[in-house]
Point group: C2
Chain length 417, copies 2
């Protein structure tokens, strides 16, 4: 059982919008053991949609399209589907009724007529109503293939996939199991790591595949096992992970966690430690990353972004003398920021960043890409410097934030020994 995704929309091809739907759909399908074998991103034209539907039906058993269902002139998906399936478009009464309810709820009943077209669907289609928008999800089953047509707005797509499509597919298909485990290795370059575990990799059972996902100076090793018995897969993965311990154990910060902020959550909750942030050059990204995890309020008490340097002095108590002697972008200021943050929020751990993210240099003429960060775990403090002149502003903030959290995790783990 293989899936193919088709993203329809000029806004993706023009580089205006990042396609996040494919990522979400692929990860959801993966969880029920359906691999996505290809993703197409195509223009909102009849011809390209129809042709891609043809190719996709050769490659996969489940075809999912997103986008091109809006009420405006540039949306062609439904017509292309009608042509491809040799079907006609008809007004669907239950969908129109559903639309009416949504519009009443939003006090937009006057818009109903204009949106009537949204209730026009393929006559062969099974309809899944969209609770968060006006275009329904349509599904056609023909010749052993399932074709699903979704709107393009991510917050409409997510609940449709999660609450309607995935349960439907699970019910409809007899699926085999897929189980994966992500092992996070730090301070071990990918090429050297590959060499170190080469023999282990070559000896992996045939139903287990390995992939390397480098991110910053962390490498995620993803082991994916497929088979008919879930318990068997779990114990297989456990055995293989066990074999890695003598080889790379000391460089592993997590044996089964995906995002660094999720690994952090595990450790902080387990050790009952509280955390705060004081960030300048990361501009909120560090706190955003930490709070992107549900339940983070259990350990993250707060953050401050003293963007202007006067705020560093007045709120965090950084000394004016340190700033004038060392400039704002210095190890000393980072240290005083983390100290001030620890006091302000009364937390066990405090992390602080200061740097120049560019593209313009700062008022002290510090070199673009320079960052100092300070990590304080109770009475221990550690300062590091990074130099990242090649990173764009947003990548810079994200890279630094990931690194700070990773270093924090390493620092906590090392303290154990």
């Amino acid at each position: 059982m293989k899936a193919v995704l088709i993203t329809i929309g000029d806004e993706i091809l023009s580089g205006n919008t990042i396609d996040t739907n494919s990522n979400f759909i692929a990860s959801q399908l993966k969880e029920i053991g359906i691999p996505v074998v290809q993703i197409f991103t195509v223009a909102d034209t009849l011809d390209s949609i129809r042709k891609t539907l043809e190719t996709a039906h050769q490659l996969g058993d489940i075809i999912i399209t997103t986008g091109g269902l809006g009420p405006t002139k540039d949306d062609k998906t439904k017509t292309a589907f009608a042509e491809f399936f040799n079907d006609k478009l008809v007004l669907d009464d239950p969908t129109f009724e559903h639309l009416r309810k949504i519009f009443i709820k939003r006090n937009r009943e006057h818009l109903l007529e204009i949106n009537r077209n949204q209730a026009v669907v393929l006559s062969k289609a099974t309809i899944f109503q969209n609770e968060n928008g006006s275009a329904p999800c349509q599904m056609i089953q023909e010749n052993g293939k399932i074709t699903i047509c979704l709107p393009g707005v991510p917050y409409e797509v997510k609940p449709l996939i999660k609450d309607k499509i995935i349960p439907f597919l699970k019910h409809q298909l007899s699926l085999h199991y897929i189980e994966s485990q992500i092992i996070s290795v730090v301070n071990f370059p990918e090429s050297l790591l590959a060499l170190k575990i080469e023999d282990w990799e070559l000896a992996l059972p045939k139903n287990i595949s390995l992939s390397y996902l480098p991110i910053g100076n962390r490498v995620k090793l993803r082991l994916t096992a497929t088979g008919n018995h879930l318990d068997e897969l779990k114990s297989q993965l456990k055995i293989e992970a066990e074999k890695l311990k003598p080889l790379i154990g000391e460089k592993v910060i997590s044996w089964n966690g995906n995002e660094i902020q999720e690994i952090l959550k595990e450790i902080l909750i387990q050790k009952k430690l509280t955390l705060s942030s004081a960030e300048s050059c990361t501009g909120g990204e560090l706190a955003r990353l930490i709070t992107s995890v549900s339940g983070s309020s259990k350990y993250f008490l707060g953050g401050i972004i003293p963007y202007d340097y006067h705020q560093k002095i007045s709120i965090l108590g950084v000394s004016e003398k340190t700033i004038s002697e060392k400039t704002v972008v210095s190890a000393e200021v980072a240290q005083e920021m983390s100290l001030g943050g620890q006091k302000l929020f009364k937390t066990d751990i405090s992390i602080a960043t200061t740097g120049v993210s560019g593209p313009n240099s700062d008022e002290f003429n510090n070199e673009i890409g320079t960052v100092f960060y300070s990590i304080r775990v109770k009475n221990f403090e550690k300062t590091n410097r990074l130099f990242l002149p090649h990173l764009e502003r947003n990548d810079f903030a994200n890279f630094v934030s990931q690194r700070v959290l990773q270093d924090l995790i390493e620092m906590i783990i090392q303290e154990e020994h």
Copy 2:
């Protein structure tokens, strides 16, 4: 001249990583007038890469691949290229020398031998050295087509595209011009807007295309003009935008800006206003969005994330009585937070958010998806409530932050009248 992008990598297909490279490359190509007509995301296998190269060469004149160039076993791109172009792979001395320099700079000379394979390239290829990683960029020109093979790491891809590929393409091809303008309309549903400007849209010159990009309750109208004379395109767009003024002028918050944070920058600098944020449920996203714009330190003085409610009291001076009577997620707490933020950071404008982003309810049993936000512009204050139960945690933070900035812009613009 059309471009086709090919993203190679199982980490994208598995939903582990979001493909941001395609977005960046497409937007850069668009600026020099080369439209991307299709994007393929394919597995890291010889067969799928080779087949996709074939299809891509039928669809476009410029084919750009990213990914699959790492030193580990799961990377097959180069071999697929060699088969497709009937070429052989050879060790390239200048590339090896470049690699050596990079490894010395990083104190990783001992890794050079393992990475020797990275200096093995197609014998026909022109090489663009990669300053930020070990896999070079390769280019082959054959039968009037240009095929470019890039690594997959985004911060390696960006400078290669921006500093090497785009200048090369500009020089190599005689390109026509493309000019676009984005008009941001608020509080005007897409379908109603489409109806309102229908006649105008139908009368647009043939070389100008229009697309609708809805985001929250803002709709971005993108006008794209192509032609041989840049000045002509600019004046054409100016004329068409002028015609829109009587139709939708009062609902437009920006006549030429893309992201809400960029529009905000324009307005705040023009009006010499300073800004601070006090955010709870958005967890740093609001500050991140604001500071994602270069030059934001000119008006954004700082932000606070009093995540735990005790911090709202101790740092922002929110009254304990208000919290116990109204709970943390209330209009009153939002108002006191924005007041506290305005005082703490001494800014003209202060914005504050408080809400429950889920998936778990808060300690006061407030309904998941409830948000209150307060905007203070000098002595004026405005509080709004949103209810977004359907949004996932990260989308929720982003949606709320976008909306707050948009409302702030509207509030500043309205004050003028």
